[in-house]
Amino acid sequence: MIKWARSLKPLLIFLLPSILAGVLLGAYPGYKIYEFVWKDAGFCISCHVHDYANVGWADSVHGTTTTCHDCHHQPLRAYIKEAFIMVVKQPKFPKDLHHTPYVPQNLCAACHLTNPHDRSTITGPMTAGEVDKIPKVDQSYLHDFHLKKKTDFKLLNNFELSEGERNANPEAAKVLSQEKGPERPIVCADCHGGPSNRGHNFGAVDTSCIRCHQPTQHTRMIKNFGCRTCHFQDFLTPIPHKRAQ
């Protein structure tokens, strides 16, 4: 082994300047590849199973201010597994889209709460100062009220998408599952995610309200006008003492 290494030494010494020059030349393309993989949605979209999520994301406010990786986190082993699956058995929409993705609370919190636990998850083009200027939901009346409450309904990404939602022109679910599990705090995805509005347009829909507020959905007011005609403004109304802080 030592003899082999000794005989290789002159060759390595001869090649070292060339290799070092190559390393310097390769650093910038390496950075550009990272930038494309991590910051350009085009990389993700080229393979991922999506329905109208791609269009929804591009049209939404998140389309210009975030990247896929801002919200969709996964461990390193998942990237290796994905690369393998893409070669061996590439998934096809709609049959292989089984459920909505899991977006943990802290991801939304990074931009939408006044004092988030962690902002290191933000990778998009916005500066820290710009993120500070985003309206904070814990400073608005009904958002703050809901964030302090608990529910025992299971998160919507636990459920298989129905056949109606797994075709090229998906129909939004009219009724959400009532299946219950352990009690947990209400999270953003309870109202701003799930089958009704999974296409990256995160506006809450009445279906989400009715899931918890079952008894009120039979009133004539709700049937004629829906929930948000009256209650939407309270989700934007600032809490005076919190605003002053």
Partner: protein, 51 residues
């Protein structure tokens, strides 16, 4: 023909030496690009999603 690790650099023709240097640059280019990509990618992935 000698294997590449037994090559005597001084005995090679200028053309072969130049070819070797080009190969070295290409090898370095691949190593540099791979290392920079890997370091930056892992720096992002591991803190957020773990291993």
């Amino acid at each position: 023909m000698n294997p590449f690790w037994k090559l005597k650099i001084d005995e090679l023709s200028p053309t072969k030496r130049f070819t070797l240097q080009i190969a070295g640059v290409l090898l370095g280019f691949l190593i540099g690009a791979f290392l920079v990509f890997q370091v930056l990618f892992l720096w992002r992935v591991i803190p957020h999603g773990g291993i």
